[in-house]
Symmetry: C2
Subunit: 366 residues, 2 copies
């Protein structure tokens, strides 16, 4: 295959799919899809592998990723003649992926599709797994399902379209996945040695995806070990929601890792200095986020009760217990439960404040 | 199990589920569901197995069964505290089942649920299979998915709540399923001998569901032999849609069977007198529908071009060919393709007119 330098297979209940790293235009044309519709982030208008009459351009924001916006999109697809034989090609970041996964899973009870991730975050993490998360009104990610693409095409040249914060988004997620899989030290050494963005992206994508693949194949439907990948997410989602999504996902996960770190220490589950790999991860994340332009102002403006209240509403908790992944002694992760109590709420609030301080922000005390 | 007289298991990729025939109140209380929410047809208000604070009452009409109406329903479930551990119990006919299947499949990426069919149509047919069909605006059944219940509870006493047309709806579907499975003669003998409604319902439900189970287990995702159960449906859906759903589903399927019969004869695929079982099925359906109050008026008011146009828009066709199930010589069913041509459109129109005549209606020629 010309211009393709890496490929691997992800097993799933639907028969699995291939991840190919290479040139998107070459790879799409090689696939020879006779009936195709492209769902793409509007920013890639004019750079798509099909004519505009076969493309639906989507604003990639949280509002578009809502159940309420699915009906008009589906009506548009129907008007374009999309039927059970039509192949959907989605080009964009995580929001486009969520929309495409969901729409492809329900349109005529399921269409085949290909995903082309364009953000580093999507390349290193979300492009495999097959899950979708869709908002319902103000309720973030309340609905979704599982509908893996038939193929994932990673073209790392899209990294050139990203800003610094988007790169950090991807690095935080990749670091977390590699730690969860026990390969953070290798990742850390690799990112320290790379100089060019394209080289770095390819290396990170391979390390992170091969780690994530292991979790997805072990636990496709998110019932067991894959839950460890929620590390940083339950705390991170609360920060995203309380900030009205002014804090981006990967950055929020990075801060969430630090929140979990503080909470684990205060619970006596984690001792600094005795877990060298996690200590290195926490320090790497701190370095990425410390004084990131705009971040400290947003974090400082948040009200602790809002953050804690968003944390409490997370769908992963049980009715009487909070469920979070924390780092524990032995230098590994654990899915842990804390009682839903006033004491715990104030511990959680303290942990957020401690993490904010580590990236240069202070948290309001009111 | 007290008050339970029949039970059987349906295998599916999700591990399968049980169909139990018995008293719904007993069976739900035996299940001991600690966290439960009931989605029910509003007509069963006051007769539900839970208090009204745990019930959501739904008008069972085509408008409620639309993607646009899912967001408010899901927001209401969230406000009631529904989480991943909550069990959904759905009580109603096919529309309630479609809504419950869809909502349970996407809410927090999947809730466990139990279905209690209340129409004969749902009892004999749709209660097993796990499919959902949801409208998008005016586009009927354009989206959906597969999410079987954990248990189906058939309480045949609900048959007492049905009118004559709803009974005929169920009989048409049951007759079709039994023919497709090769057991129509037994079914026919059974319905001729039963006098009481409850007895009849139990007998029909068992014959029909055990036939349908075979198709669903052979072909869970509707890719092969299960497509034969679409017999009568592609023509029937066109009648439902063109009549703005004044013709009910089972009745439309009954007429659809006759349309397929006429089309097959004109195509030289079927010879009357040489296929005794199908001849008996067609005659049984004719007898059920002939001069059914209100039906002939609605059918006579339809415009042929509207019916054919709805037929053409069916999602089961390919871009260049119509796909329909027809009866063929040898007394069995076959999934057949006809070219999308003007000649074929006029053949289809003739077949509708011929079927309408057989139930006492004439079709307008304009």
């Amino acid at each position: 295959m010309p211009n393709t330098f890496e490929a691997f297979h992800v097993k799933s209940s639907g028969g699995g799919y291939d991840v190919v790293i290479g040139d998107v235009v070459d790879l799409v044309s090689q696939a020879g899809l006779s009936d195709m519709v492209v769902l793409a982030d509007v920013r890639f208008k004019g750079r798509l592998p099909v004519g505009e009459d076969r493309a639906i351009l989507i604003q990639s924001d949280e509002t578009e990723k809502s159940l309420e916006r699915m009906a008009p999109l589906i009506e548009r697809m129907k008007a374009m003649g999309v039927n059970r034989k039509t192949h959907v090609v989605a080009v964009g970041g995580g929001i486009i992926q969520d929309i495409a996964t969901f729409v492809a899973s329900i349109y005529m009870r399921g269409l085949r599709w290909t995903y082309v991730p364009t953000t580093l975050l999507a390349m290193v993490d979300s492009c495999i797994g097959g899950k979708s998360s869709i908002n319902v009104g103000k309720l973030k990610n309340l609905v979704g399902g599982f509908h893996p693409p038939e193929k994932v095409i990673v073209d790392t040249r899209f990294v050139d379209t990203l800003d610094n914060q988007q790169i950090i988004d991807g690095l935080c997620e990749a670091a977390k996945i590699c730690y969860a899989r026990g390969v953070f030290s290798d990742f850390h050494a690799a990112v320290a040695n790379k100089t060019t963005t394209a080289d770095l992206a390819r290396d990170i994508v391979l390390r992170s995806l091969s780690s994530k693949r292991w979790f997805v194949e072990e636990d496709e439907f998110d019932q067991g070990v894959r839950l460890l990948l929620n590390f940083g997410h339950t705390f991170g989602h609360a920060i995203e929601a309380a900030s009205d999504f002014r804090v981006s996902h990967g950055v929020a996960v990075g801060i969430g890792i630090l929140v979990a770190h503080v909470r684990a220490e205060r619970a006596g589950r984690y001792s600094r200095g005795r877990n060298p790999t996690f200590d290195a991860l926490a320090s790497y994340v701190e370095t990425l986020l410390y004084n990131l332009p705009g971040l400290t102002d947003v974090l400082t403006s948040l009200r602790p009760m809002d953050v804690v209240s968003k944390f409490e509403g997370d769908k992963k908790h049980w009715a009487d217990r909070f469920r979070v992944v924390i780092p524990v002694d032995g230098d590994h992760l654990e899915l842990t439960e804390f009682p839903r109590s006033e004491t715990e709420r104030s511990e959680i609030s303290e942990a957020f404040a401690g993490a904010f301080a580590r990236v240069g922000a202070s948290m309001s005390r009111v």
